[in-house]
Symmetry: C2
């Protein structure tokens, strides 16, 4: 079988391809070929037991998706996106990549579906976002909470979900949209994203570095590890979609914890010495941004459909230590 | 002030333009010019006290909206759409008119907004639809019921709403999307639309003709008169949008009645002789389609914002007799 990963140079895309390379199969079927695509050429995972191609592609170019689809991949992962802050600053670019990019992909798939007389209906996994929801929020956001995004990014993702459900309903694709929690612990360097501190306060202390906590301990947020995110993608790619019904967008399960609970989990796993590397330095701007974010979800549908996140934040900390630090804490 | 009506050849668009011609003003400001546009050239209302232009325009053509917006109309009514059944059969055409047509319009408005240094931010009234909602439904659909359309038409309207809210949030337009109830009594000939009977069983008996009722008396539906629909449009065009907040799409109020209640209202207004012209002829196909439709709404937000429908179905029947039959029943 052939898989196509669009957005394969991003953190989650890279980890997905590494996992595919380790397993060599998807849903019990051996992978023959993996096409990795991103706006910059992605890096092929080491030791893949199948053919890997890597390619720099601009998905906002209408000619791009038809070329990618000509190979008729059995499974398509669409992870590519302009992130929230950039989509807010760069209105045209956000719509071009996040809306048109998704629509060109669905449409190219439909063209192959029609050319095949309906025989070609690939599984298409689209990473959506909890940004499709807008404040004010209930204490827990359920599966039927309505979509009233307050950002261009959230608008573009909500539209991507609507199109995916309609193309699926018409039988052109077999789509599943998954709304990812905040990915924590993000590997790599601290970044300037407003949400960066959720990962920074775990990753940096574990690596022997100081980290800044810009918000109050009481801030509640919704997390899943990079490992869980890859698990969501694989499950979405292989599950029986007959059970989903027409509402093809699913909020993924996660771990809803306060910053204080994050820190206590870090203490239980790595001790007081590591926790002492967190420095409190309140930042009004970040506090304001974070106050508008959803806190936690009741992901009942996805859980019933077999999606699994970590059970608690300790598991998230341990997953980071195992996957990124070779099991060692500084 | 200048007004632009896109979809001015349709029943509601025509009635809107006739009303504008009668009143000569919109929100207390005299109208200088009314541009009427549709896929076929619309007919100018008689005796308008302002300049009227009529034009055949294909809004799916990317070059069309920039030309219409070059005149910088103060108020834009976007009523043009491919209807539900056609959008379901003609996938490309539905997306071209209903999604791209709306997006080209918003985008052309944004270009004028930017060219004016932000000074030009016209009111843009978009007619959406209760088709943005998909079954299963609660007994009454509230303002926070989520948007999971089960048709391409509903998908396109939901996307039109999302884009309108985002362009409004960014300050490019001042948008209001209104979800119309089923318009009843539709003037004109009986038509083959599955919803046609809701109007047929009132209009035809009042005109001395027999009408077929293809569903059970217990079917509940959500109605507003053509006169109320025009009232919604005028209110959306002139209201203080500061009170709406970021959720710019509003479900319009209406009259939620069963077919039996429609018939009893007709009897009270026009007597047994008229009601006797309704012939029951159950149609399994129509019954099945109608069973998937929403029944009634709690339009609390729109009502609080000053939108007014009829208070009961008798008023709807009387509005038809006054507006279409010169006050006379056959």
């Amino acid at each position: 079988m052939k898989a196509l990963v669009i957005g394969a140079a991003g953190m989650v895309g890279r980890k997905l391809c590494e996992r595919l390379a380790r397993e060599g199969a998807l849903g019990g079927r051996a992978i023959d070929e993996l096409a990795m695509v991103d706006v910059i050429a992605p890096t092929a995972p080491a030791g893949a037991p199948f053919k890997v191609t890597t390619q720099a592609v601009d998905i906002a170019d209408p000619a791009a998706a038809p070329k990618l689809l000509a190979a008729r991949p059995d499974v398509i992962f669409h992870l590519a996106a302009i992130v929230s802050g950039e989509a807010e600053r760069e209105f045209d670019k956000g719509y071009a990549i996040n809306l048109d990019g998704a629509r060109f992909l669905y449409e190219a798939t439909r063209r192959e579906n029609m050319a095949s007389g309906g025989a070609y209906t690939p599984r298409l996994v689209f990473t959506s976002s909890i940004a499709v929801f807008g404040a004010p929020f209930p204490d827990r956001i359920g599966d039927e909470f309505f979509h009233q995004p307050l950002t261009s990014y959230g608008t573009q993702k909500a539209i991507g979900e609507l199109l995916l459900s309609d193309y699926t309903r018409k039988g052109f694709i077999d789509g599943v949209a998954i709304r990812l929690p905040t990915i924590c612990v993000r590997p790599g360097k601290p970044n300037a994203a407003a949400s960066g501190f959720f990962s920074n306060i775990i990753r940096e202390p574990l690596a022997g570095q100081e980290a800044v906590l810009p918000v109050a301990d009481t801030v509640m947020h919704w997390h899943a590890s990079p490992r869980a995110a890859v698990g969501f993608l694989l499950h979405a790619a292989t599950m029986d979609t007959g059970a989903i019904g027409p509402r093809r967008a699913l909020t993924m399960p996660g771990v809803g914890v306060t910053v204080a609970e994050q820190i206590e989990a870090l203490r239980r796993v790595a001790g007081d010495k590591v926790v002492a590397r967190i420095r409190r330095e309140p930042d009004e701007t970040i506090m304001k941004i974070v106050a508008g974010w959803p806190t936690r979800f009741d992901a009942a549908r996805a859980t019933a459909l077999g999606f699994r996140a970590e059970a608690n934040f300790e598991e998230i900390v341990r997953a980071h230590i195992e996957d990124e630090l070779g099991g060692r804490v500084a």
